[in-house]
Symmetry: C2
Subunit: 515 residues, 2 copies
């Protein structure tokens, strides 16, 4: 690429003629550079399994490599792409690597990528209907499509006076629904009582709940993370919820909001929606369901039962950007009562006034979310649904689940290992004997330092477990087999060393176990 630099001399400013601003979006140049970038990214995907999955750089690596200030003069795209390859790629943890099994995946697809390109290209700001009708209308339509695929009750769809909206993240979805529930409640009990409101989840609920609760002004003392134990496979027990609520009511507090989870982060546990709703609804609480990861699977009839009871809740969200091939960000939220959101989140300054809004015939999504500005995210969801079709999307999800099952089978055959909780979806929780954190942590660190796979851990019921979460688009069975081989190889070494330098480690392990 070096020779191309001749066309873009880097002399000092006085010699270079200033660019015309319009050339910054010149279609001919857009085409040239756009094609170059498509090839760059295609090459990246082609070579992705050559990179260490977990980046191996040290903190501060990049500042040493980049200049201290922005350049005065333009640099050619060829130079920039060389820098991306040399300086950025080594600092990436490769979330699209077929050997990425950490956290939950955030998978991308050709259709998701193209949808993002269209949305970026149009770059419309669809805060209200009039600012770009197609952005609003397509979002309402695909959210109804997706709601139907999930067999959501009609009350969550636009056709049933509910409706769906695309947020950036689960935390945002919870902030908005919790603010709506807070304001509804305060209008009943008086605006000065915010300090009495209580929010509930299990201790397996995602940290987004606590963060949202903190953001909307719930007193941190009134946040309840109710213990979920191995006896319920880490699902929230309705009985425990009932007890917590009773005790709060006795203390003069007001139960506000329950977040139930379908597919917890640590173990993919599923809270029982129906029985939990029975308890919460008795106290007039708002119930939100966070199915960030597992929601996708519920488009398959055989997994739909995991959201049984959904008819009783107020809001439901899942992240299409996790396991539905859209890429970041795309959190799908449905609510039964959009009016509650709108009442808390609407602001109608004069500069946004327009006839369609005044006519009340249109949706203005600015009132369903935190930000005023919003990207045209529905585009990628529409492209994913159309490019693959429901039949393939279901099969994609099933294929991930089948691979997790394969991994589970491999673990089960090795008697040094234990599957810690039953597998619900495409994630396997396991640990190696001795069942102590030190050994399992050491094993995980060794696996990840190899660069061949990336997995992460969780602590549940005092157990340190390793999580193998399948969900990347390009993962195939051979990657599962390889991942298991990496785990076994490192376990061999660690257990051998553990045996060798015996006493000290053993004591540590025993202490760990007693604690």
């Amino acid at each position: 690429m070096g020779s191309l630099k001749l066309d873009h001399p880097q002399e000092d400013n006085s010699n270079s003629s200033p660019m015309e601003m319009t050339s910054a979006l010149d279609p001919v140049e857009f085409r040239r550079q756009g094609h170059m970038m498509v090839d760059f990214i295609a090459d990246y995907y082609q070579n992705i399994d050559k990179y260490p999955v977990l980046s191996q750089v040290d903190p501060g690596y990049l500042r040493k490599r980049l200049p201290e200030s922005a350049p005065d003069n333009p640099e050619p795209i060829e130079t920039i792409l060389q820098d991306v390859q040399e300086h950025i790629v080594p600092g990436l943890t490769h979330w699209q690597s077929p050997s990425f099994f950490a956290y939950f995946a955030s998978n991308v697809s050709i259709a998701g990528f193209l949808g993002e390109m269209l949305s970026t290209g149009f770059n419309v700001v669809g805060f209200n209907w009039v600012s770009s009708p197609a952005a609003t209308e397509l979002e309402s339509i695909v959210m109804d499509w997706l709601g139907n695929l999930l067999s959501l009750p009609k009350s969550f769809l636009f056709s049933g006076n509910g409706g769906g909206v695309i947020h950036g993240s689960t935390c945002e979805a919870i902030v908005c629904t919790m603010a709506a529930s807070r304001d509804q409640m305060l209008s009943r009990i008086g605006g000065d009582n915010i300090g009495k409101l209580v929010v509930y989840g299990s201790d397996q609920t995602h940290s987004a709940l606590q963060k949202a609760s903190q953001i909307v002004g719930i007193n941190p003392k009134n946040f309840r993370a109710i213990e979920a134990t191995r006896s319920t496979t880490f699902a929230l027990s309705p009985e425990s919820l009932k007890l917590a609520i009773s005790s709060d009511i006795e203390a003069g507090l007001v139960p506000l909001f329950l977040c139930a989870t379908v597919g917890t982060t640590a173990t993919t546990a599923v809270d029982p929606l129906g029985p939990l709703c029975d308890v919460a609804k008795h106290h007039g609480m708002w119930v939100h369901v966070d199915a960030a990861y597992a929601g996708s699977a519920c488009i398959c009839p055989e997994f739909r039962h995991f959201i049984d009871g959904i008819e009783g809740v107020d809001s439901f969200s899942f992240n299409a950007h996790k396991w539905f091939f859209t890429g970041l960000d795309c959190c799908c939220l449905w609510v039964k009562n959009p009016g509650a959101l709108i009442s808390s989140l609407s602001a109608n300054p004069e500069f946004l006034r327009n006839k369609p809004t005044d006519s009340k015939q249109v949706v203005d999504y600015k009132d369903w979310q935190i930000a005023l500005s919003r990207r045209f995210r529905a585009m990628k969801l529409w492209l994913v649904l159309r490019s693959y079709g429901v039949v393939n999307l279901r099969n994609f999800l099933r294929s991930h689940i089948k691979m997790a099952k394969l991994f589970e089978g491999l673990v089960a055959m090795d008697q040094r290992f234990e599957i810690v909780v039953p597998r619900n979806f495409s994630m396997v929780c396991f640990r190696v004997s001795p069942w102590v954190a030190t050994i399992n942590c050491k094993l995980l660190e060794a696996i990840n330092a190899s660069g061949r796979v990336f997995m992460t851990h969780a602590m549940v019921g005092g157990m340190y477990v390793i999580r193998c979460a399948v969900g990347v688009t390009q993962t195939e069975e051979k990657h599962i087999a390889m991942a298991w081989k990496v785990v076994q190889e490192h376990a061999d070494v660690i257990l051998k060393n553990h045996g060798d330098d015996g006493d000290a480690n053993l004591k540590l392990a025993l202490l760990d176990k007693i604690a």
Copy 2:
């Protein structure tokens, strides 16, 4: 494109063999479809001034054209692109049209587009350092670069123990800084006193302030929108702020947060930062500066004075996605005390625990924002800065300002019109005589219905004004001349009709004027 359909038969499911999931990111197919999409978008830019700027569709147009549910089987990209062209494009309001003068622009550029492609392609989720070191480090670096371009005091940069972060929107930036200020204050005055906290801005402040205040649990009764009048060209007067604060303190309330604006939405008014800080700091308040639109201009030395006094504030944000060529979304926020954000927004669940975080040597941006997940937005900012260089970026901004000046000159030459406030940046506020809302509103509606330009309005000091905001990448002087011609032509017609059917309209106008 029709013939291509033959390769993608749409028969019923039983005949079509299921796709392999991995093909959803097959590099060969990625390349083919990616190139096709680059051409589609390049064509769109090439033809953009053939479309009506403001979409002319009616509410509900799209539901009539699309199927009721997602397809079972895959559809070829060629068909989808045809549908985009036929059904989506007519429903777009073309924000990238050179004749878009509404709201504030959200301009895109080749570099911004390519940066978004890279970020989408890598699709890393950079919630903490370890999850993708390059994403975090590049963000810290470009935020320091940009902070230096704005001559921000060192206390806002990482090198000075402050730091910058990229949010999605100004509202998000205000929610986070306000939550931080709230928690700092509550730790001083006791956690049960949230009901006493008061938030201040002028009545020209963006609605994001009120929304943020509502979200973080400030009692709606404690939100102050202090009147800013024509006498201060709609800037917030420090004297008025002082009065409002005194009266609140007398009532036993606690002043918390001031949002000052550099470049208001209605008229691009600039609040005087220094004097306002003097008042607010006397009461230990947090001062945030919202320079969403005008912040970009402050990289030009001749406009830097608009943020004089910035050394006294706690946080500062501007939207690179408005007037800095990145495309949506890219809100740059700097804070002096990241610890305050982190203390309010951090959640450290076990599944995110890792050695670099424990070592405290790294930035974990999840604790600087609402969401856990985050896109690699720094990439597009880096590409914009490098592809154009500081010299060109300044000239791009100056060229928009010069065009606004040109428009201003044209308006000033026509005695039927009035420039309502002095122009500060690239936006002109004007109205036509008779100075009544009915006439000016009718004029604006006629202009926009023509499809040839799109402008929006504001109400300030009882005046209905039309705003011509220049800021789209491809706008040239010829578009300015054309826009003015459209305004004049419609004014001719409306004023003539107004004269003709005289009495009724005249009375209406006079009534309006007296009111």
